[in-house]
């Protein structure tokens, strides 16, 4: 399943897919509070919500579904391909009443590894055909996060997987503490959008309709990331980012990234990229979770926008120069 050449829906078809927001976060970080905030806010939209703990939700919503987080291993040759079969079933059934909601929110348990949820969106043809993973949103408790990250690899994974991080309970920590926390979070995941909150009081526009993996937007929020080469703890989860200014050869890139994911997929939690393929007017968006990858054209480059290919890896034991050389070797001749 490391085949990245699969045709993904184009930009217009992407918009017809139901957006799914995955909400993760450690126990007590404030996921339920945030969820209640989202559901009670006046946004004129209806969400179907897939939760684990029935009854915790304070709102009356007839589209709340109780899930069991049933994970299974795919027999597809990927050593780390675990999938949420219950989610395939639930999303499939929800799509039978498609007209009743505008989006779906999936809440995971505090200890959950986000990989099986994310991989579900790569693996199943019906899920891919009808929904799109809009964003993984991770809620972090500012008061406890530093200690939690020391003690729990799951918490590190939840941050590594995030497209959006909500730093919650910021009223319990002073400004210097918050800056230290943000620095620590950035050392794991430099591309996620980071927002501060007190009691889950985030702007909905910071959480919903994130448009998946718009890397350009992510990079606007982390301007220093590309220059920052100070990450040193190789065994820790870190983010590596690369740029190539010349157009890429699509076939070479597919072959290279396929091999990288096959060999190092267990250590690569996420990979994302916006690519400039030679001879193409459109941007190609690429993303991967462990060994599973897909991509598709997402519309033309903006007027005056530099046509630069950018690629980010978030993972462990990543070899910076080797990945750089590999990416650079994909330039079109």
């Amino acid at each position: 399943m490391s085949d990245t050449a699969q045709a993904a829906p184009d930009a217009a078809a992407q918009n017809a897919l139901v957006p799914v927001t995955v909400l993760t976060g450690f126990l007590g970080a404030g996921k339920t509070t945030l969820l209640n905030h989202i559901l009670t806010a006046q946004h004129g939209r209806k969400y179907a919500v897939v939760v684990n703990e029935f009854g915790e939700l304070g709102v009356d919503n007839d589209l709340v579904v109780d899930a069991d987080e049933e994970v299974f291993e795919m027999n597809n040759g990927c050593i780390c391909c675990t999938v949420r079969g219950d989610l395939i079933r639930i999303l499939g059934n929800l799509m039978k009443r498609r007209a009743k909601f505008d989006g779906i929110i999936v809440e995971t348990t505090g200890l959950a590894d986000p990989a099986p949820v994310a991989q579900t969106f790569f693996v199943d043809e019906d899920v891919r055909g009808r929904t799109r993973l809009d964003a993984v949103v991770t809620v972090v408790d500012a008061y406890n996060v530093i200690q939690t990250l020391e003690e729990s690899p799951e918490a590190v994974n939840q941050i590594a997987f995030a497209d959006v991080i909500i730093l919650n309970k910021t009223d319990l920590v002073d400004e210097a503490g918050l800056e230290a926390i943000e620095k620590r979070i950035r050392s794991i995941n430099a591309v996620a959008r980071l927002h501060r909150a007190r009691r889950g009081d985030v702007k909905l526009s910071d959480v919903l309709d994130q448009g998946g993996f718009d890397l350009q937007r992510a990079l606007e929020h982390a301007p220093h990331f590309l220059e920052d080469t100070s990450h040193s703890h190789e065994a820790d989860v870190t983010s590596l980012s690369y740029e190539v200014e010349e157009p890429l050869d699509a076939a070479k890139f597919q072959a290279w990234i396929g091999a990288v994911l096959q060999e190092q997929g267990a250590d690569i939690l996420r990979a994302k990229g916006i690519l400039n393929y030679a001879g193409e007017d459109q941007r190609f968006a690429f993303q991967a979770v462990h060994m599973m990858a897909d991509g598709g054209f997402i519309g033309p480059w903006k007027e005056g926008e530099p046509r630069v290919s950018r690629l980010v890896f978030i993972g462990r034991n990543l070899n910076r120069p080797q990945l750089r050389r590999g990416f650079e070797s994909c330039r079109a001749k």
């Binding site: 007839d62 069991d68 049933e70 795919m74 079969g85 395939i88 059934n93 039978k96 498609r98």
Partner: protein
């Protein structure tokens, strides 16, 4: 592949002998009563549409009523000559009598995703089974007396009675479980195979149990000795499968032809499947086997429906595509009607009786 659907064949069977009605919402299932006198369609909006035999040609006479507060996920003929059972994402199991009256059998805490019934030839002894989460509950034909509740290791994705109603099997992660309906002490027969099993069928002679898998293949167990069978090569997941009446063939969706695995002459092990017609590039989404003749019906992703002869490679188009996928398909027990529905809400009945 000798034939494909040819649209130069004049009016289709649906146009000549059928009726069609546009419903609100996705048709999630259809069933025909055991006495073959009434068709029920169910939808994602919670509606049940009843079509009496006298009205099969007049769709405007069909009775539509809202029965569930949410999508209907399962429908089966009742364990009696008339009526239907429906399960929904409002966590209820309901009974609908032939006159359209509705009663509650279950108000639970989880979606009721699968319902099936068994009834003897005389229409007297019967059993109702439904799946909700990891549990399968068996009830007497009256629907109010619980016979047993069977626990499974993960959510049940399909249930099926054997032809004699003696055993029930359920598919789930890592295999299937088989139970005796009347046993005093419930002992499971575990049939194990790693992976996510998403649907189930049983050979009418009790020779084999087959499941559909997430990895777009089928797995089977020969029930005499538990021998494993693997049937692969599908381009997509198999959502629908059915054995022919005599158990010779297992007919499935999942490809752009009707795929039929031979369950005779040593098959299906080591034998390639036969193909009974199809539509190039269009996936088959539903199949059903005729109860009397060697005929299969198949619905496709573009809304087309055709019938094929399992022996003679003849194809009869029932209705041309041009819409969304066929999501429900059933023959009546007497073989005189074919009912089908689509994701874009078309419900049809075709009268196949001799005229």
């Amino acid at each position: 592949m000798s034939d494909t659907v040819n649209d130069a064949m004049g009016p289709t069977l649906l146009e000549r002998r059928g009726a069609i009605r546009q419903l609100e919402g996705h048709v999630t299932g259809c069933a025909i009563a055991r006495d073959s006198q009434q068709v029920a369609f169910v939808t994602g909006e919670g509606d049940v549409v009843l079509a009496d035999r006298a009205d099969w040609g007049r769709a405007d006479a069909w009775n539509v009523q809202t029965v569930h507060d949410g999508a209907i996920l399962a429908v089966a003929p009742d364990a009696a000559p008339t009526g239907f059972l429906t399960g929904g994402d409002d966590n209820t199991l309901r009974r609908m009598a032939a006159d359209g009256s509705v009663s509650d059998l279950v108000r639970g805490r989880r979606w009721i995703e699968h319902v099936t019934t068994w009834c003897d030839d005389k229409g007297k002894g019967g059993v109702i089974a439904f799946a909700s989460g990891r549990q399968v509950e068996l009830r007497d034909a009256g629907g109010h007396g619980t016979l047993k509740v069977l626990e499974h290791p993960s959510t049940v994705s399909g249930i099926v009675f054997d032809a004699k109603g003696k055993r029930i099997a359920a598919s789930h992660y890592n295999g299937a479980s088989m139970w005796f309906v009347q046993a005093k002490v419930d002992t499971v027969r575990p049939l194990e195979w790693k992976g996510s099993h998403i649907g189930i069928a049983i050979h009418p002679g009790g020779e084999a149990l087959v499941t559909s898998m997430q990895e777009s293949e089928l797995h089977g167990w020969r029930l005499s000795d538990g021998h494993n069978m693997r049937m692969s090569g599908y381009p997509s997941k198999v959502q629908s499968m059915a054995f022919t009446r005599n158990g010779k063939w297992l007919v499935t969706s999942g490809a752009d032809t009707i795929v039929m695995w031979p369950f005779f002459g040593g098959g299906p092990m080591g034998k390639p499947p036969a193909e009974a017609g199809g539509i190039p590039g269009v996936m088959c989404t539903r199949v059903a086997c005729h109860p009397v003749h060697d005929i299969v019906a198949a619905g496709f992703a573009d809304g087309s429906v055709l019938m094929a002869d399992t022996g003679a490679q003849r194809i009869l188009p029932v209705c041309m595509g041009g819409g969304e996928a066929v999501s429900a398909l059933a023959f009546s027990p007497d073989g005189c009607a074919l009912a089908f529905g689509t994701e874009d809400g078309r419900a049809s009945v075709v009268d196949l009786s001799a005229r």
